[in-house]
Symmetry: C2
Subunit: 444 residues, 2 copies
Amino acid sequence: MKETILNLVEQGKYLDARKEIINQNVVDTALLFEEISQQKLLIVFRILPKDLAADVFTHMSSELQKYVIESITDEEAVSILDALFIDDAIDFLEEMPSNVVKRILRNTNEKTRAIINQFLNYPVDSAGSIMTIEYVDLKKEMTVKQAIQYIKKIGIDKETINTCYVINSNRILEGVISLRQLILSDESTIVKDIMDTDVISVNTHEDQEDAAYLFKKYDYYVIPVVDNEKRLVGIITVDDILDVIDKEATEDIHKMAAIQPSEKEYLRTSNWVLAKNRIPWLLILMISATLTGGIIERYEHALQSLMILTSFIPMIMDTGGNSGSQSSTLVIRGLALEELYPSDLLKVLWKELRVSAIVGITLSFVNFLRIYFLGKTDILVALTVSFTLFLTVILAKVVGGVLPMIAKKLKLDPAIMAGPLITTIIDAVALLIYFSTATWLLGI
Amino acid sequence: MKETILNLVEQGKYLDARKEIINQNVVDTALLFEEISQQKLLIVFRILPKDLAADVFTHMSSELQKYVIESITDEEAVSILDALFIDDAIDFLEEMPSNVVKRILRNTNEKTRAIINQFLNYPVDSAGSIMTIEYVDLKKEMTVKQAIQYIKKIGIDKETINTCYVINSNRILEGVISLRQLILSDESTIVKDIMDTDVISVNTHEDQEDAAYLFKKYDYYVIPVVDNEKRLVGIITVDDILDVIDKEATEDIHKMAAIQPSEKEYLRTSNWVLAKNRIPWLLILMISATLTGGIIERYEHALQSLMILTSFIPMIMDTGGNSGSQSSTLVIRGLALEELYPSDLLKVLWKELRVSAIVGITLSFVNFLRIYFLGKTDILVALTVSFTLFLTVILAKVVGGVLPMIAKKLKLDPAIMAGPLITTIIDAVALLIYFSTATWLLGI
């Protein structure tokens, strides 16, 4: 299919291409457009039915959207915008440079402009910023028959008609009813009598992550969005939540690797921005490592008298860092998925103490076997290293488990308390344990 | 609401509690049940309407499910199972110990048993294992009126009626039509003429992650599942995909922290299992660190003659590790979200080279300032450290970016090529660079 369309466009057979495009999925068409030369793309785009063109436009990359919008007339641009669902229009406008946004807003009618401006004012990542206003609102006094007729009349332009919301005369949200219930109910039933009054909604200013949590908890496909007066102002559909879930996970993963999160795809991000996102934490952590260096300097004489001790430093540091990362990762993810709450702090502490005891004993035992029997190291040195390892693992796991919990309690982002930061903290403590043990056991 | 119900149950006013429970969301009821003493819970559970009881059962924790199922009679257990959607029944059975599964299967009728056994045989994490068989299948010759009547008749027990699939006499999937289209179409239209024939489906044996990818790409709410002969056998609904997306992200996050992933919640996992999931990688990485120790041992004399060099080892190791983790994290996540493909290997290599040059210059410059001007270190030592840092950052970022790509090319899991492993590799290389530079610049 794809090859056919590309060939047809190549040969200038645009009307044949149009026929094929109408039959295929809009997402695939949008992907295909990325491969057509820009000149020809405009021709193809212009001969598509208006609604289809708008639909394809929604799924194009923002680079291509920008090219198209800058190449077409003002009237064409406005007609595309009018055919978009409001959430898609906002997504698109947010990616455009301000001159494009201005040009479009200048040309739209006042009502659309007001709506768009209102949306652009919702906080980033708020429920309001991802909602759409194309929903079905029923009056509670309607009969099922009236409701279905109303849906038939207005439904065509709504993002979903499967879930309908019931409002009173002040637009206050009072109930919810599914198209399924309407279809399966008797025609003369009053909507009020069969609607579900236990409606779970989000406020426009709530975080999109909280909305995502409700979708996951209640297995919803749509959630209504209300303003501070509980008036229905929009809906969020689950397809947008899929993106939210991915985005939030990506954000956490990036933070856990000491990167400032960015929403842009890796290959589409400029080298300068990538570098800028990575340097701050690397600098902070590099300078913090001065502390560790200072500890080594303090014990220089001890090290000099028994140089073999130096060679175990990387192993102790790495194992401590890895042990701590494991615990902090589990806890950070648990907090993100709301499987763990700040009030579980003591439970986590107690659990990590016991788990780390098992892990610590195992690792230090294996380590002792390896360096004493295989490495032929002096027994006191082997004991020093193994004992340090044992304490380091316990400490790393406890610190790794507890710090994200404390961060959450302090309303900080737990994801910062991940591998890199934990490693830097544990490095210093591990070396202190190491040298203290060596001084004590080896008398240096 | 919650407090009221708990109070009513506490006072033995079960029928009043029942009334309240019927009015509230089943998910909330399931959460509430976790707080009721087990004796009283059974009473409450038994007086609920059968369908509601099954619905609540679906949302209970597996511990509570196990308790309930072990405490009720065989008939009651079978009647709950019959009222569950097949995907929920399978989720439940997969969590139960084998004696419970056997007991239930022994008591169900032959047909249900056959279906359940078939489901339990689908590979873990396959599309088949998360699908449900409660879908609406229309015949393509039906009129819209007949289709709607058919849906009214059979729809009540279907997980979704919003999307209906059209099959031929051999049950081969031929099209899809939404309830919305049916409602908005003329009653005498033939389904075949308005159905969409461009149906995207998954095979029962495909990975659930691939299914999730289709949901995200096409913004679907439901996707049909077909067998090898393209016969419709089930559907996957988007609410199950939300869990898949979370689960896959969690799995990657755990692997990236060198933990064997587990599906169970942190606090519900036993200490032994948690330890078992963490020890293998810690052991592997600990033993790999021997290499780093060996390198230090080899250069013991050089170190002894200039002990100050030792104190920079942790900083160089940590910065190298962190730099590598950043790149590997970005690339692993990019691969997981299908923003990056194995064929982008050279693009990633080239990008990381340029980004790492920027990062490397910045870090080594700041480091030079710090240790030469603030730390009053000898200029040649400062140069050695800074030069090592520069090369290490570049190398770490290139290795960190490229290894996950290569893993993907080799059909290995890229998530393994994350921080911990990269750190261990970079540690060794960084030390080699360090000592070689020191030998060359300082003549030791």
